[in-house]
């Protein structure tokens, strides 16, 4: 029994070591391995970028289920077109660019079908109800919902730039590469989006801080 347990522990520890080692791999090496047909390398890329990509897509389309589908679609496109990636050091920018295209195509399709673009189904969303702010205030469910709704009111360009900067912490240059916007447009859109978001969130944030 002890022997069996020790073997299991060893197996788990060796697996985690492999995984950690793999995650240490640089983007360039992973891309090169994927080009040579290594699916495991692509899985590592997926693990590394899946969360930010799905969050990004979710912020753009506003529906959880759709965001998951679109993120998967984006990764499949990335796998199919991995040879088109010129600068392997810009894997993240490239992936975000693909995700942006997939999301925009979806939004366009929905607009053509006459559907109003609304952010998310409230029933499915599971929010962190009692996240604590550094100053000890509750980050309420309502505030989460308010951010979600406020994002939906921004126009597509502003939402895209705002999401990439504020939530994904991308630099202006990276945003320019992902969106193909000029830096000047990015600055303008970001400034306006910040003002708009602040205006929309003011009632909620003031209430939150008054608690």
């Amino acid at each position: 029994m002890i022997k069996a347990l020790s073997i299991e522990v060893f197996r788990l520890s060796s697996r985690s070591t492999t995984s950690a080692g793999a995650l240490m791999n640089g983007s360039e090496e992973l891309v090169e391995r994927v080009r040579h047909g290594d699916d495991e390398a692509f899985r590592l890329i997926f693990e590394r970028y899946h969360r930010p990509i799905i969050s990004f897509v979710y912020d753009l389309v506003g529906e959880r289920g759709l965001a998951e589908e679109l993120a998967q679609e984006a990764f499949m496109r990335a796998y199919k077109n991995v040879n088109a990636l010129r600068d392997q050091t810009k894997l993240a920018v490239w992936l975000f660019g693909i995700a942006k295209n997939v999301a925009r195509e979806s939004l366009r399709k929905r607009l053509q079908q006459g559907r109003k673009v609304e952010l998310d189904d409230r029933t499915v969303t599971r929010l962190h109800d009692v996240s604590l702010l550094p100053d000890g205030q509750l980050f309420s469910k309502e505030l989460n919902r308010a951010i979600h709704d406020a994002l939906a009111t921004l126009d597509q360009d502003k939402r895209l730039v705002f999401t990439l900067k504020v939530f994904q912490q991308k630099s202006y240059q990276e945003i320019a590469e992902i969106t193909e916007f000029s830096i000047a447009k990015i600055k303008t859109d970001l400034h306006r989006a910040r003002i708009e978001m602040r205006r929309l969130l003011r009632p909620c944030t003031e209430a939150s801080y008054e608690m």
Binding site: R64, E68, Q72, A84, V166, F167, S171, K187, R194, L201
Partner: protein, 368 residues
């Protein structure tokens, strides 16, 4: 630094997008200016709120399974295509290269190269045609010009080139200009007697004012002026002036003489009612077209006697070409008077009789 300079840069400073020197100046200003500090604090506070934004994103392995299944499906499709088909493999590889070319951010480069190649190809094609003697000019294809056969049949004879225009042959020798008829008829087959019997049919199709045709002929110097806009006049043509033969002039003089005689005879009926001169009018239009060409050619060759003869004939032809279909006897008599005063019929007769003689070839009508 003042607030006016600081405030527009504050967001960039907050986002860490400014150079160190400017960042240092802004930091110094914010630490001393309450107004700018409050704006900066607001940005910080917003970011703090956004950093706690939570989305419902379950961390399961299901998405990867879906992606892996999708990848394997794609791979199966590609391998089924390429199993035993090298051309298919080659096609897929080519498509992959093209796709990678156009999907990159430098997609404009191959697009530009392709556009330049197309333009160069077109230029070379047109240049080749322009230098090719057979392709330098082609008679307008009536069918391709969008004309129905019946319309084409009623088009007046059109000179192959504009006045005295001809293409050089490969040998460099000048070709004699020919009169080409766009319709089915040849000029010689249309004698006065034979055409007179078709007067009724021809009259039906005389709708265009002749002055328009003449203006096009003279103004544009286009070989296809009588065809109007339906003919492609953009074909590359190497234009030079060339000579018409004396035979052409003699034939023309003969035809003009027949026309003037016919016109004169119509007026000699002595009736006071309006005369039907539709045939003469149509014939005058045809003769006038050729007269302009031959007159210009004679002027270019400095053959002044012929130029004078044709120049004197031209106003009369113009009068007849523009006469009313049902012309009044007075109008007809006025034109006949001009014909007689100028002695045109006699001059044309002399020209026709001596056209082939040595004296005429030297350009003299009055000798012998």
């Amino acid at each position: 630094m003042r607030c006016k300079e600081c405030l527009p840069l504050l967001e960039e400073y907050f986002d860490g997008e400014l150079e160190t020197a400017i960042s240092g100046r802004i930091a110094a200003h914010v630490s001393t200016c309450a107004e700018c500090a409050s704006v900066y604090t607001e940005l910080q506070r917003d970011q703090e709120i956004y950093s706690h934004y939570r989305r419902e994103m379950a961390a399961t392995s299901a998405p990867w399974e879906v992606v892996r299944a999708g990848i394997e499906e794609q791979r199966a499709i590609i391998s089924s295509l390429t199993l035993s088909a090298p051309p298919a493999r080659l096609l897929i590889a080519t498509l992959g290269i093209i796709r990678s070319l156009f999907s990159s951010r430098y997609a404009l480069v191959p697009a530009f190269v392709i556009a330049v190649a197309i333009i160069v190809g077109l230029l070379m094609h047109f240049n080749k045609n322009a230098n090719h003697p057979q392709l330098a000019w082609q008679p307008p294809n009536v069918e391709s010009a969008g004309l129905a056969p019946k319309q084409a049949d009623n088009i007046s004879p059109i000179p192959a080139r504009s006045p005295g225009l001809v293409a050089h042959g490969a040998s460099g020798k000048r070709d004699e200009t020919q009169v080409v008829y766009a319709g089915n008829r040849s000029p010689n087959s249309r004698t006065v007697s034979s055409v007179k019997s078709k007067r009724a049919n021809d009259t039906e199709n005389r709708t265009r004012p002749h002055s328009l045709e003449l203006r096009r002929e003279v103004g544009e110097s286009s070989e296809s002026a009588s065809l109007g806009a339906k003919t492609d006049v953009r074909q590359p043509v190497r234009i030079i002036f060339a000579a018409h033969s004396n035979d052409d002039v003699s034939k023309h003089a003969k035809e003009a003489q027949a026309l003037l005689r016919s016109f004169r005879n119509e007026s000699a009926t002595g009736k006071d009612e309006a005369l039907d001169l539709g045939y003469e009018r149509q014939l005058a239009r045809n003769v006038l077209d050729r007269n302009i060409l031959l007159r210009r050619d004679a002027e270019n060759r400095r053959n002044l006697p012929v130029a004078d003869l044709l120049g004197g004939l031209e106003p009369v032809l113009l009068d007849i070409a523009n006469i009313e279909e049902r012309a009044s006897p007075d109008e007809v008599r006025a034109i006949v008077g001009r014909i007689e005063r100028k002695g045109l019929v006699a001059k044309l007769q002399i020209h026709t009789a001596r056209g082939a003689g040595p004296n005429f070839r030297n350009g003299s009508l009055d000798q012998n």
